[in-house]
Every structure is written in C-alpha cells, then in structure tokens.
Subunit: 467 residues, 2 copies
C-alpha cells in the first residue's frame, strides 16, 4: 500500500500563529499572523483544494504551553501554539469556498460530552456535504485539566477506557439511532420524520448514560472519518480499534515501520482488515527548481528558527522543563517515555535508530528543521525522497506542515504535486461532489469491519431500557 497508488495528502496546521514551525511567523512571507480571519483560512483551503490535497487537518490544545521555565512566557513570546483559537468554527466557512477538500478537526473526548459532540460532528458533516473528519484526542495539556476544574489529568489508561465507551455512545447515536429512511419529508401527509424509524439508544455504561435518540438527522457520512494518534501501548490499541487514518510521529523510518506493523497486527486482532488503516506522518518540504535554490531557501528559513519556541513545545509535550537543561544530555535521560503517548512518540522522533539524540541535536535534526523529517530539493528530488520514505516507513500518506504559510503548501501544490501526479501518487480530482471517506476508501460509510458498523440501524437492535 505504500509503494504505489495515490497517497493520503493532508495539510497540517493549527489555529495559531505558529504550529511546529517555531519562530517562522517572523519570516516576511509568513501570513500566519492573519490566523484570526476567515480570509486567511479560505486562501489556504483553496490552495489545498486546487492543489489536489485530500484534507486540511487542524491540531488543537486547550491551554497555553507552560512547562518550559514553569510558565507560559516562552510560548507566548515566541508565539508557539499560544495564543490559540478554536479550530471547529472554521470548517463550514472553508467547505463553502472549496469543492472537495476534507477537514479534520481535533476534539478531545476528555472535556466534551458524547451527546454534545455527536450533534456537533453531525452538523459539520451536513454543512460540509460529508467532508469532515474527527481527530480523536484523549489526552490534553495539564493546563487544560487544571482550568476545567480537574485537579489533574485522568490516569492514562483509564482515559482510554473512557474514550472507548465515548466512541460506543457516539457510534450508537450516529449509526443506530436514525434509520436511513427515517426522514420522509412528506408534505402531503404532514410527516417530516417517521418516528417509528428513530430509536433511543438506551446506553447505560460506566461513564455515560444516554437513554434517548440522536437529536440530528443522519449526515452524509454518519460517522465522520476517524483520525487518531496514539503512541503508548494503550493508545495504539485504541487506534487499531477505531482509527481509519492513524497519525504516527517519527523521523526514523525504521521506528515508524515497526509502529505501523504493530498497529496493523492489533487491528487484525480486532477483526479489521489491516490494509484498510491508513498511516500518515508529519513532515515538511522545501522545494525549488534547483537543488541549490532549495538549499538556499532552507538556510534562509533556518535563520528564523526559534530554539526557545521549540524547547517550549518539547517541554510541554514531555512534561520536562528544558529551560535549565544541559543541551548535551541525551533525551532518554530526561524523558520518561514509558509514561505517555506524547513522550514515547517524541522520543521516537529524537532518535535515529542507533542512539538517542542530545537535546542540542533534537533542536536541529536531519535537514535542520523542527522535529519532523524535512525533504529539501527539486520537485523530482522531493518526490523521490517522499516515495522512499513512504516505502521504508510503510506509511500511506503525509500531513504536510508549513514552514512558511501559505507558501509551503502552495509550492508543494505547484511543484511537487504535478511530479507526484505523473507517478500516480496523487488522487485525481473527483468528477462530482464526494465525501471524504469516499475519497479515501470508496464508500461514504464506515467499512463493515469497523466497530461502528455493528451499530448500523439496519442490523442492530437497540436494547430496551432497563429503567
């Protein structure tokens, strides 16, 4: 699945002035300072839509990054994911101005109730004509937990147990509650919905009690396309069970390949076709007509790189305050990577298969940009590197991050996409309207082997309420 055929091609960013392109908001060409305007996002979405991308994928975190130096000062000063705005309200505005681009929105299961979240995504799926994906996050920043009135995070594994039940609830609301022909809209008979075809879900579990029917009528995809990134053993099980697109972090192809194989094996244990899961990694690209031009561009970008911004982010991701840290220490000494998803995935990014990096190396890995692979070169050179990366890591696509917005995406669309198209690695533009899931797997609804499918109204009998 990784050596031929169209790849999954996503733009990956955040509703903030800087995502993981630390310091680059200072570059004269960067327009991220306009992140609080619809215009800025429409411009970006159209570049992706016209450029053959499948989806715009928006990360999120509900809190300032405040581990580094014991406060948010560094992240605020460098604009690193702080301040941050809500990604969700952007989606219908961008769908209205694009023709096929999908939209992946990050929403946590930890601070949101399934009955509310189900309606939110059904509404987004309606308003986008079935082009929405949910990036399921179970963890959040400590700062978010603190400000939402929880003394601390729910313990890691328990959070995933709760998330499993959360998904059971929303699957029932999306798949089991309203039959396909429940909405009849018969003006003559005066029947908008046939009530006999709307079923209360009668869910009573450990975490949630949801007796009633879904409040919204079925949307084109019913269940949004499900994205997930989980690096820990428990997180990997969760992804193997639920995710249709799995985001794997890592700059080391071998490590990524191992994680992909593990997750596919787990998916098979859950009765899913392992080949149906799509794996993507985040990376950046610096492309130019000539190799020398690309190298010069990279050097110019690097002059804007903010090590303080990077450290503020790494500290928040790992819970380790690097402000007073020794830059020569190796990262396995300071990060307890067994503990959390993000630590494990962070460490996998900071190693090249031989030995863990020092913090200094982590600040300038490989081609010298951020903590993800960065491919620098001519269109053909970048396409070669990308194809090799996909083959070596056994992944199916990429989340392309910006170095400079929107130039990084525009140059990829204008220079690299035509080259990838020639090689059959970019999906043809759909002839008519299509849902995101149809683009990715041919059908608007979850596959029969996906856990949501067992709740399909056609075959699922809602249990009677025990009340």
């Amino acid at each position: 699945m990784s050596t031929e055929g169209p790849i999954v091609l996503n733009g990956f960013t955040m509703n903030a002035v800087s995502h993981v392109n630390y310091g680059l908001w200072r570059h004269p060409a960067d327009e991220s300072y306009r992140y609080n305007t619809v215009d800025h996002w429409v411009r970006l979405a159209r570049i992706l839509d016209d450029g053959g991308f499948d989806a715009l994928f928006i990360a999120d975190a509900l809190g300032l990054l405040d581990t580094y130096g014991g406060g948010p000062e560094a992240s605020l000063r460098t604009g690193t994911q702080s301040p941050v705005s809500d990604p969700l309200p952007l989606v219908p505005a961008l769908a209205a101005q694009t023709s096929h681009l999908g939209f992946g929105v990050t929403v946590s299961t930890t601070y949101e109730h399934p009955y509310l979240l189900a309606r939110k995504f059904t509404t987004l799926d309606h308003l986008t004509g079935g082009r929405v994906a949910w990036n399921i996050v179970t963890s959040q920043l400590d700062s978010a937990a603190r400000n939402l009135g929880l003394a601390q995070q729910i313990p890691h594994d328990e959070r995933y147990d709760r998330a499993d039940e959360f998904l059971e609830v929303v699957y029932k609301l999306w798949e089991a509650s309203w039959e396909d022909d429940a909405v009849v809209r018969d003006a003559e008979r005066g029947v908008y919905t046939d009530p006999a075809k709307v079923h209360p879900i009668n869910h009573a579990g450990r975490w949630f009690t949801v007796p009633d029917a879904h409040v919204s009528e079925p949307s084109p995809q019913r269940t949004p396309v499900l994205f997930q990134a989980g690096g820990s053993p428990r997180g990997q099980r969760f992804a193997a069970r639920h995710a249709e697109v799995v985001f794997v972090a890592g700059a080391d192809a071998e490590g990524v390949r191992r994680r992909v194989a593990e997750t596919r094996a787990l998916a098979a244990e859950f009765g899913r076709d392992p080949a149906s899961l799509k794996f993507v990694t985040a990376l950046s690209v610096v492309v130019d007509d000539t190799e020398a031009g690309a190298r010069a561009k990279l050097a110019e970008y690097q002059s804007y790189f903010s090590a303080e911004g990077a450290l503020a982010h790494y500290s928040a991701s790992t819970g380790v305050d690097f402000a007073d840290g020794d830059l020569e220490q190796t990262l396995d000494r300071v990060i307890d990577y067994r503990d959390t998803d993000s630590n494990r995935s962070l460490l996998s990014m900071f190693a090249d298969g031989r030995r863990p990096w020092t913090l200094r190396e982590a600040l300038a890995p490989r081609d010298g940009f951020g903590r993800t692979p960065n491919f620098v070169g001519t269109p053909a050179g970048v396409a070669d590197r990308l194809e090799r990366w996909l083959a070596e890591s056994d992944t199916d696509g990429i989340n392309l991050i910006q170095i400079v917005s929107p130039d990084s995406w525009r140059e990829f669309a204008e220079l690299v996409v035509p080259e990838l198209r020639r090689r059959g690695r970019v999906r043809p533009r759909p002839a008519g309207p299509a849902t995101l899931r149809e683009r990715l797997q041919g059908s608007p609804h979850v596959r029969d082997d996906h856990p949501a499918a067992q709740y399909r109204a056609a075959r699922y009998r809602v249990p009677a309420s025990s009340a």
Copy 2:
C-alpha cells in the same frame, strides 16, 4: 426609547426545519428543509444583511421535544424543533458572506465549561470581525439533562447562582486577562506576545476553578454582545445584571411593559443605566400591497398550521402533556407558571390581560398564528401596528420569526423596512466595518456600568493565587 429612533431588528430562527411556525415546512414556498446546507443560511443571511437587519438570532435546545404524549413522536412527525442541528458552526460561514449583520448564538451555561466557552466566543468574535452575540441560556430541556448524565435539572435558582459565577469567569478571561497591547507582533525582537501583559485570572469560586490566563488573544468586542431571556424573578435579576439585549416573551403589551419596567428597575439597583438595556419581543408579520392580499396570504398560511406541532412545543415548554388535554380548559389550570421561566412567559403569552386563554384559544390566538403577535396588513399598516406595539410595550425592537422561510424576512425587508426607514426606525447601513455592539450602542466594548467592565485589564488587578 420606544417611540423614536432606530429599533433593534433581528431575524429569529433555529437550525431546524421548523422553529415556531408549526407545520409551515409543508408550504410550497418554505425552504427550511434545506437547513442543513450552508447555501440556505447564506441566502437568508444576505436577505437580512441587505435588508437593514441588525442580527440573525438562532435559538437552540439540545434534545428532542418529548413531553407531548410522553415521547418525541409528535415533534418528529411535525418537524417541530426536532431534529435540530448545532447553530454555532454556521456563524463564520455567514459572516464571510455578509458585511455588517450580527449573529446571536444560543449556548447554555449548564453543560458547557467557561474555559471552553470563552475560547469559542473569542474565536467567533475574531472570525466575524466583532459581530457575535451570546444568547445566554441557563435552563435546558429535561431530555438534555438526562442525556448529559444528570439525573435531572440543577434546581432553578441554584442554576442562576452558578450562571452568575460562570459569567464572572468568562468576564475575567475576556476583559482582565490580556491587556490591549499584549500582542505586539514584533518580528525584529522576536516577540509575538509580551508575556508581562497576559495575566492569569486566579479564579477560585464555588463552582469553578480557573487559575490561568485566557488562551486566545483579545477579539474586537472582547465580551460578545449579551442576550438573555429570563421570565422568573431570579431570571429577571440575572437579565437585569448581565444582559444588554433582553428578550421578553408575550403577546400582551401591558404584561410586556410591566416586565420591562421591573427589569429596568432591577438594572438600576445593579448600578446600570436602565435605558441602556434593549428589550425585544418575538413576532411575525404577514405583509402585502393590499390589506385584502395580506389577509388572503394569512388564510393560506393558516391552512398549513399544525396544531399538533404547536402542542408538542407548548408541552415541552411547560412540562405539561397536552396530548390527552381538554382543549376547553384554561391554561392557568394546567400550567404551574410560578415554577419556571418558560412557564411564566408562556402563560403571559396565553393571556390577553383579561383572562387566561383556553388551550383551544392558545392554538389560534389573535391574528391566528402561533403564540406570538402577528401583524397582518399593508407596509404602512404593519409599520403602524409595530410602532404602536413598541410604544405600548415599551420595547426597543423585535425578533422577527418566519412563517415561511425566507419569504417572511424578504417581504419584511422589501416592503416594511423602507416604510420604517422613512420613519427613522431602521438604522442606516454603516459606512464601514462595525462591530455589533457599535451598531447597538456606539462602542465595541461593554459600557462602564456593565458588570464585565470592572474586570478591564486597565483598572483591574488580578488577585494572587491562594495556592
């Protein structure tokens, strides 16, 4: 304030096939069946924007109406507010296609955390250029409480105490946390935000603990324009304290006038200028070039009216199941109106100052449409009725509901607005971009006598954390 000068002119609807125009989705001209598309809403928003309206105001309830007959069958069948979609994601898409229209979104304080809600509205205010209002709801349907895992509603007065603290938290986040010049965006010095000008709010109260700073940078209005409707004594106090626009239900001018006077008196007790509060009522209009034409149109509309839909709504509003009710009983016999806001306001709608109506009368009050006043006639006749209504009820504007969408709003914009403009009762179109609050009261920010103003960063000193 009610006999001259521009009125507050809102379109009032719901993200559903039928709001309070029971059964009218069956009318051939009604386009509400397209409520799940952005196109439908853009069309409506442009009619209001071009037609001189101040805002589009979207009601909401998170649940199917299921009191009538003990289940949701009647509301589903008649399409009465069931199914219902999330109103919030519509807003930026509509702001992008309009030039000055404001957007009022209903969000409950009961099922939403202030730290999340604050970011949501800051984002909407950014993306709309300062054109957003929050319709603060404290109560919700029992069905919502049930599905969100609460055995029953929080007791009424306690809900308002909690809402008061909720507003204290969001005021601190919106007004006190980020100073006006906190975001400096200085590329040369590498400073996006000056951290010294971002303050943690250190809120520790009975209901909420929010130690940190707001996650988002200040938006044009900071605090969105605040709408509220509270009929009970405690709800009225809440409105008097916080609301900038107060929605008063009622078909009886005397009753509305009394409520307005009471609320203004309470506002004065809270140190606010009573004249600064704007009061609006919901009503519908059937207008035509001739009186006979308008009457004929009304008769035709009435032929689509669904009494079952109306009863399903009245039952949900009052908690009284009217399915087996005697249509000749008067409403004070079946509704305990002392109990809840909505019952009190419902009963005030179902009385004409002399005696309570029977249920049969409630189904066909006054000019025979729904439970709000309905003005039928020529443009001049409607304008006369409207001006008299505003004077008699001492209100400042209206929430115009649809009978048929979007015709009801378009005909009002095309026929009645020019007449009102001649009389100086419709605001001139703003020359340039303006926030909603500037339109309504001349300044983008809350008035000095509003409770949010005490938290303004310029004068408010955030208390040190007790931790």
